[in-house]
Symmetry: C2
Subunit: 266 residues, 2 copies
């Protein structure tokens, strides 16, 4: 049964207070998910435990079928728009929020060793933009990537906006962090992955690449790209572009490369 | 010589007043470009006449070399941040703005007849999101598309944010509007273009498509997609995706398709 909240200061909904300010600080053990598409994935497909929901009264009916999948001990709070906006701190047009617990990040070696013999993995180095990381997760899900590896400088896929841009894929595609870019390459090579680094200076052209059964695609930030010592240790691939124009957005690049690597030779 | 403006009410810089409010209304004969990368393309590669510039004092030096290309009768206004922010109506972090005149949109038949025998063209149907249109122009430039055609429902590529997301490509890739999606297909077929419509229900798979010398790629909005009668009259192509996940972003889709169409068979 939904619990109607009428007082914006009700301590029950403390977790939903000042969402943006807390986004900036970062949440250690929890994350916030918003919107209907993301909520449905969170309840149906993801590995995260939901702690509570906060719904605008007029959104309750549209997600009622999905709420049946929720354990009865998870509180569903409802509020009118004025109370919801006051608690959250800005107009929350989608009217749907959830708080869930982060899952422990597995050691990269364990994660890779459990993957099937044919697998595509994405590795992100220094990607500090939430839109790009969200977009890459969306593409990773669309092309069936088995996992995403993040270095320490890559931003949090469970940041609210990254989840939204990923259309919920950040909740679905398994990911973990590694200590450094070097450690990422080492772990991938130890697990028999052919490591493909995308770079404007790449020696092979993407459209000619025949992927191996286990292939990892490494992507760096748009300005600096991937470090030279990493390129020296991996298979470097470029996407030829028309003369003189600025390079592609990195999320678009991930889509182009994942499309090729998941379809080439099939 | 730059003209220092100290009074936010100075009528010289009227064109820069309340930028966001005027963005929403739309500008009939002019557009606003912002940021250094976009300014450099506007001055160097684009077909648009610049009317004036407004620069934060501390940005003047960083673009001094590009300003040499400017006709001496184009005024360059400078202001400190406080004056600039007051005029514009919000903090303009990039500190670089230009006002330029729109160019007349050529009739689609004229535009297509002037293209070379080998050409890739993009057609957009009902794309109302400025980020997506900007991203598609960026990809069109990266893969050497010769032109972009827009139906009446597709938003303005010269909207400030669309230009920014395109990294200036909206100023460089030629475009025009057509009366309807039907008229677009007709004009393309009259000009001997093989019209490829991307759709989840497409009969061919993108990675197997061998493009013709003159190929046009049609893209529709993420929800509704392209209309059924248009699909019936064109070559329909799909991008296979992993089971059950939401479709790709349309800008990413354009990058994947343009990459394939510009490299297949080469």
């Amino acid at each position: 049964m939904p619990i109607a909240v009428t007082d914006p200061d009700d301590p029950c909904i403390e977790a939903y207070r000042a969402v943006r300010e807390r986004d900036l600080v970062g949440r250690q053990h929890r994350f916030i998910a918003e919107g209907e598409v993301v909520l449905r994935l969170l309840l149906k497909q993801s590995r995260f435990r939901v702690e509570s929901l906060l719904l605008a009264e007029n959104r309750l009916e549209s997600v009622a079928d999905a709420l049946n999948q929720l354990s009865p001990d998870v509180p569903i709070y409802t509020a009118n728009r004025a109370v919801m906006d006051t608690v959250v701190g800005f107009p929350i047009h989608r009217g749907i929020l959830a708080v869930a617990q982060r899952a422990p990040l597995p050691p990269v070696g364990d994660m890779l060793s459990r993957l099937p013999e044919t697998a595509l993995v994405v590795g992100l180095i220094g990607l500090a933009n939430h839109d790009n990381v969200g977009g890459i997760f969306r593409n990773a899900a669309a092309f069936g990537a088995a996992a995403v590896l993040l270095d320490q400088e890559t931003c949090d896929p469970l940041y609210r906006k990254a989840i939204r841009v990923s259309v919920g894929a950040a909740l679905v595609v398994p990911f973990t962090r590694v200590a450094s870019a070097d450690a990422m390459v080492q772990a991938l090579q130890d697990a028999s992955f052919d490591v493909v680094s995308l770079s404007p200076s790449g020696r092979e052209i993407l459209s000619h690449v025949q992927p191996s059964r286990r292939t990892a695609l490494l992507l760096g930030a748009e300005g600096p790209g991937l470090p030279a010592d990493l390129l020296a240790r991996t298979r470097t691939v470029s996407i030829p572009m028309s003369g003189g124009f600025d390079s592609l957005n990195v999320a678009t690049t991930s889509g182009i490369a994942l499309h090729h690597l998941s379809t080439a030779g099939r």
